[in-house]
């Protein structure tokens, strides 16, 4: 089905903020994000006859954005990133990491509820940094599920993967995100556990703390001093 110019324009403009937000998190760069959105809109216009229904517009245009992003990596010869995309569903260990289990341990239960306290004090900048540290394939699935509130079916349509893969990849991505948050808290010296930071394999980059504000990301300041 071909959408009319009016419908196409209205849909694009209504989704522009979301497209830009996702593009910024994928490219980690404002200028590249704007180019990616522009390329996406051009590609979408050229391919508008392939749109199956108006209801599918959101998943369809985000699929185009994702494909354009990967094409950009190929053009740039970003081999490590492309390899990490290809390996997205191979690392079974990420999915098994649970921040809750790390925090909910007897020696941390000096506090009434360490895991809830951790969340109370978790800062936006800590989460931002942790999300940015995720490999591309994990980052995109968390963005679509949690920031853009896509259903699993929409994520499947966007990333062109089966529903079962959406479930497993999302579980791995969240495990990986929680691992980064745990590693951040450990790097700040805030977990007070001495537990091994690299359990289940290391992520490529552990974001460094930004400053004193980050210290409050875990509720046990001073336990180790």
């Amino acid at each position: 089905m071909a959408v009319s110019r009016e419908v196409f324009e209205a849909r694009v403009l209504a989704l522009l903020g979301s497209l830009q937000g996702v593009a910024r998190r994928l490219t980690r760069n404002d200028a590249d994000a704007e180019d990616l959105v522009a390329e996406t809109v051009e590609r979408a216009w050229r391919a508008r006859d392939a749109l199956e229904s108006e209801e599918a517009f959101r998943a369809w245009i985000f699929r185009i954005l994702d494909n354009a992003f990967i094409s950009g990596l190929r053009r740039a010869g970003a081999r490590p990133q492309l390899e990490s995309i290809e390996r997205a569903d191979e690392d079974a260990e990420d999915g098994s990491f649970s921040l809750f289990e790390r925090l909910h341990q007897p020696f941390l239960l000096w506090f009434s509820n360490p895991e809830q306290e951790f969340l109370d004090k978790l800062l936006r900048e800590d989460l931002d940094r942790a999300l940015a540290a995720l490999p591309d394939r994990y980052r995109v699935v968390v963005i679509l599920a949690d920031l853009e509130e896509f259903s699993y079916a929409e994520i499947a349509a966007t990333l062109e993967i089966p529903l079962g893969t959406v479930r497993s990849r999302l579980a791995r991505a969240r495990g990986a995100l929680q691992k980064v948050l745990w590693q951040q808290a450990q790097a700040y010296g805030l977990t007070g556990t001495g537990a091994p930071a690299g359990h289940g394999g290391e992520l490529e980059s552990v974001p460094q703390r930004a400053g004193p504000a980050a210290r409050s990301a875990c509720g046990n300041e001073g336990r180790e001093q």
Binding site: L16, L127, E148, Y152, L177
Partner: protein
């Protein structure tokens, strides 16, 4: 393995689908019932739900301009 342990293991496997509102009616009802009686699984679910909420709060309605102007010009050129 006790029935409670088996139930908890099953519940934990479904936690993400629960917080994402992706469970079928039957599974949703079963998990709700389990969460009413299992403090440990309830705490875990609450943690995952709150963390998802915090991640979701990272979303910003990104500035449309100057990208907005660029896209509007682009749309006119089609």
């Amino acid at each position: 393995m006790t029935k409670q342990q088996i139930d908890c293991e099953l519940a934990l496997k479904q936690i993400f689908e629960y917080v994402d509102h992706e469970l079928g009616e039957h599974e949703h009802a079963w998990l709700e019932q389990h969460l009413r009686t299992c403090k440990s699984c309830f705490s875990r679910m609450e943690f995952e739900r709150r963390l998802k909420e915090k991640v979701g709060a990272l979303r910003e309605d990104e500035l449309a301009s100057p990208l907005g102007e660029r896209i509007k010009s682009l749309l006119k050129s089609f």
